[in-house]
């Protein structure tokens, strides 16, 4: 695997405060599912924004192996970020519309994405008529609809019940194996991070230093057995400990 | 002359159509202009319009001037516009006061609040200050609505002899004292015809025809059948009433606004160097215009004094 995009010595500060990210080195490899784990406020969202080019580093370089892929991004923001005047269908259609795809042509893709997140009957609803979790699912559908090469997801399933969440975990993995999508994932659920990713990075609460790295065999089958097996518990414990270490504490 | 195509000519007045423009409407209505080979369009003025600028810019061929102070200003600004005739021998500008309020003599007026519009304020009022001791701090704005004057018995207001006293009489319920400034030494010509210097140089015949026909129009308006002209005025200005038109015409005749003084000897429209000099000197003294102004550039006497229109007199 070669890095799709890499951060080298990237620092980011806001205003005159201490840097949120301080000389961070990070590679995202083609086809992997990388989870960023770290305490609240440690800079995970900031890192995703830098990867997406929505924020510029104060120093360091962000380089893409294939600049064409840089244009094929999907991003689920931490907040739903829907256009309040558009209904669910049109919100999901937006990325395709921005690429010039006609509505008629896009409709099957949009329907598919809405099916995936369990909102097939809510196409005509406005964001304000949705529950918190439904808004977030709408945002997820919007990110899926373009079949991105790199999918950045900032706590996408935090507002969802466990059943829906598990289902979406499965759907995400299926999508990934079908399309070869690279995923960078932020989650607060240690279990989710283990279930979904091929690599977990734990970020320190200050400066975004990578405290720990856990590799998980991509060949593992992510299914009910895996979730309830001993390897899963083991990895979960390691990830929990990494998180604790990241917070500057230890059990 | 009927075989010849008519010359298209436009004439800008300085207010909405009224009896004070009667002669020009008459000349259109009774075919006088046509007989002189002219097809005249009247461009009405309004409170803010500036007929002289339209003339200078070539939008119209002739314009009506209110008084000679403006003529002096034209000279001062070196605008190539020249007065060729004056339809009124007497400027009908007046002051009015409430009777029985100690404002019955002209000398009493300076002590009263004076409702004066801006254009009068910067011209005639400056002379009144110098000649009669009127005071600037007494001035309140006149917005062409006499209600404040009527409401304040201790005030005076400017106006036109032919118009404002009528309104005040009817609506205010009293007959105001009327002071025609011309009776107190204000000897400007009024309702002048002006044109561009280049027109005079290039087409003096056109100018002459317009002047002559307008003079005839005035004659006929005052002493002939003016029904068609009045109808035209009312068409242009739907607010105009028969009562006011009749009142205005009566005042024009009564005071000889159009045809007194020199006009009786030389014809309507006449102007004289002596009278213009007299007025110029007054304005210089009042500080309205500088003494070294070559004011003679502002007018020409070559189109008038030919007794035009006298033959139509039916006094």
């Amino acid at each position: 695997m070669r890095p799709l995009v890499s951060l080298r010595g990237v620092s980011k500060r806001f205003g005159s405060g201490a840097p949120v990210l301080n000389a961070v080195d990070l590679d995202v490899f083609e086809g992997e599912t990388l989870t960023l784990l770290g305490p609240s406020g440690c800079g995970k969202s900031t890192a995703l924004r830098l990867l997406a080019g929505l924020a510029q580093p104060n120093s360091g370089v962000i380089s893409w192996a294939d600049p064409a892929k840089q244009r094929r991004l999907g991003f689920v923001f931490q907040e739903p970020t829907l256009l309040p005047w558009r209904d669910v269908f049109s919100n999901v259609y937006l990325p395709l519309q921005l690429k010039g795809v006609a509505r008629r042509e896009a409709a099957p893709l949009v329907e598919e994405a809405l099916d995936l997140v369990g909102l097939p009957s809510f196409g005509r609803a406005l964001p304000r008529e949705l529950s918190g979790g439904m808004k977030m699912r709408c945002a997820i559908a919007r990110a899926f609809v373009t079949h991105p090469a790199l999918l950045l997801m900032d706590e996408p399933f935090a507002a969802l019940d466990e059943v829906t969440r598990f289902k979406l975990n499965d759907d995400l993995l299926a999508l990934k194996s079908r399309l070869g999508t690279t995923i960078v994932f932020v989650t607060h659920s240690v279990a989710e991070s283990v279930f979904i990713s091929t690599r977990i990075l734990a970020l320190a609460s200050r400066g975004g230093r990578i405290v720990d790295e856990i590799d998980i065999d991509p060949a593992l089958r992510r299914d009910y057995e895996f979730r309830h097996g001993p390897a899963f518990s083991d990895l979960s414990r390691r990830a929990s400990q990494a998180l604790l270490r990241a917070m500057g504490e230890d059990e | 002359s009927s075989a010849r195509a008519l010359d298209k000519v436009s004439f800008a007045t300085n207010w909405r159509a009224q009896a004070e423009h009667g002669g020009f409407y008459q000349a259109i209505a009774d075919g006088t202009y046509a007989r002189y080979g002219l097809d005249v369009t009247i461009v009405q003025g309004g409170p803010q319009s500036n007929a002289r600028l339209l003339l200078a810019a070539g939008r119209v061929d002739f314009a009506m001037g209110a008084n000679f102070i403006q003529t002096f200003e034209v000279v001062r600004q070196k605008i190539p516009v020249v007065v060729v005739a004056s339809m009124f021998q007497i400027d009908p500008v007046i002051f009015m006061s409430h009777p029985g309020q100690g404002l019955d003599r002209f000398e009493d007026l300076p002590q009263a609040t004076a409702f004066v519009a801006n254009d009068l304020f910067v011209s005639v009022y400056q002379w009144l200050k110098q000649a009669y001791g009127f005071r600037e701090e007494k001035v309140k704005p006149y917005g062409f609505n006499p209600a404040p004057f009527i409401a304040d018995a201790k005030s005076v207001q400017e106006g036109f002899l032919t118009s404002e006293p009528y309104q005040v009489e009817r609506q205010g319920g009293f007959k105001p004292n009327v002071f025609l400034l011309a009776d107190y030494g204000y000897d400007s010509y009024s309702t002048t015809i002006e044109t561009r210097a280049e027109t005079i140089a290039g087409n003096p015949d056109l100018v002459q025809r317009f002047v002559d026909a307008s003079i005839l129009g005035w004659r006929n308006y005052l002493y002939g059948d003016n029904n068609a002209a009045n109808a035209a005025i009312k068409r242009d200005n739907p607010e105009m009433t028969d009562g006011l038109l009749a009142y205005s015409v009566a005042r024009l005749k009564e005071r000889g606004i159009v045809d007194s003084g020199d006009a009786q000897r030389f014809g309507v429209g006449v102007m004289t160097d002596a009278r213009i000099k007299s007025f110029f000197d007054k304005m210089v003294k009042a500080g309205v215009v500088p003494a070294d102004l070559p004011y003679r550039n502002g007018y020409t006497l070559r189109f008038i004094g030919k007794n035009a229109g006298m033959e139509a007199a039916s006094k």
Binding site: R49, A52, G53, L54, R71, L73, F75, F77, E79, T81, L83, P84, W85, L94, P95, Q97, L98, K99, L126, P127, R128, T146 | A12, R16, V43, Q44, G45, G46, P47, Q48, S49, N50, L53, L54, A57, R59, G143, F144, N145, P146, A147, I150, A151, Q167, V168, R170, Q171, G172, D236, N237, P238, E239, T241, L244
Partner: protein
């Protein structure tokens, strides 16, 4: 729907009736002369007497109003769009918009008449009065877009044009409509003032001259009758634009939609 509109209209109408009643009573009690303040009954009577003249004048004024308003809407919105494209452009354009706003049309009308026909001069003057609030409010609306949504559009590499029509324009709609509500009344008063300033040469057929001439003739009841027509037109324009706002925004904007639950 109709019942709701009627219910909404009832209290203001009642209040209005009370105001008229007080006015009528005050004029009678203090015997205020008719040339200072005519009673509503006198005005109403005049309105009926002079209806032909007044309504044809009203139509003339409203025709200018509508033209000026449409022109102001188009120009204000387009200029605001241009200004939203670049901060430099905005800084370069803004001063001229302000200059147009603060130039007294009574002063420039005589000059405009040199170059334009009276009809066009009136239109330009009325337009000048109405357009700034639209420009200003729309510009604010276009600038007030949620940064998170801008990020979203950046992410998908949206072209400037698509960003405008899919994001900035809808987001600016509420303020744009508020600008229209201000401009509606201004277009009307602008049409009146413009007619006074530039309406020479047979163009003075609108309400402005009715008002000025009636004032000059001290026909104050007729002046008030004309003013009443203006007021009613103003309220009607505002009402129509408010309805437009309501229907354009009620699905999503907090300013007009009902509170949930």
């Amino acid at each position: 729907m109709l019942a709701r509109v009627l219910a909404a209209a009832f209290p203001p109408l009642l209040a209005f009736a009370v105001v008229l009643g007080l006015w009528e009573a005050a004029v009678r009690a203090w015997e205020i002369p008719v040339y200072q303040l005519p009673a509503p009954s006198v005005i109403a009577q005049k309105l009926i007497e002079d209806r032909a003249l007044l309504f044809s004048s009203l139509l003339a004024t409203l025709s200018i109003t509508v033209q000026a308003f449409l022109l102001a809407t188009i120009c204000g919105a387009l200029l605001a769009l241009a200004m939203s494209q670049s901060r430099w452009l905005a800084r370069i354009i803004a001063p001229y918009a302000i200059i147009l706003q603060v130039t007294p049309i009574v002063a420039i009308a005589p000059l405009l008449l040199i170059y334009l026909s009276p009809h066009h001069a009136v239109l330009v003057c009325a337009f000048l009065v109405a357009f700034f609030p639209i420009l200003s409010n729309t510009a604010l609306g276009l600038a007030s877009v949620d940064h998170a949504l801008l990020d979203l559009f950046d992410l998908y590499g949206a072209s400037a044009w698509r960003r405008l029509i899919y994001l900035r324009a809808p987001a600016a709609l509420p303020q744009f409509l508020a600008g229209l509500r201000i401009a509606g009344g201004l277009a009307l008063i602008g049409a009146v003032v413009a007619e006074l300033a530039a309406g020479a040469g047979g163009q003075g057929s609108g309400l402005a001259f009715r008002i000025v001439e009636a004032g000059f003739r001290l026909d104050i009841p007729r002046m008030f009758a004309a003013l009443a027509l203006l007021s009613v037109s103003g309220v009607a324009i505002y009402g129509a634009l408010s309805l437009l706002s309501f229907f354009a925004l009620r699905r999503w904007h907090d300013s007009v939609r009902e509170r949930g639950g």
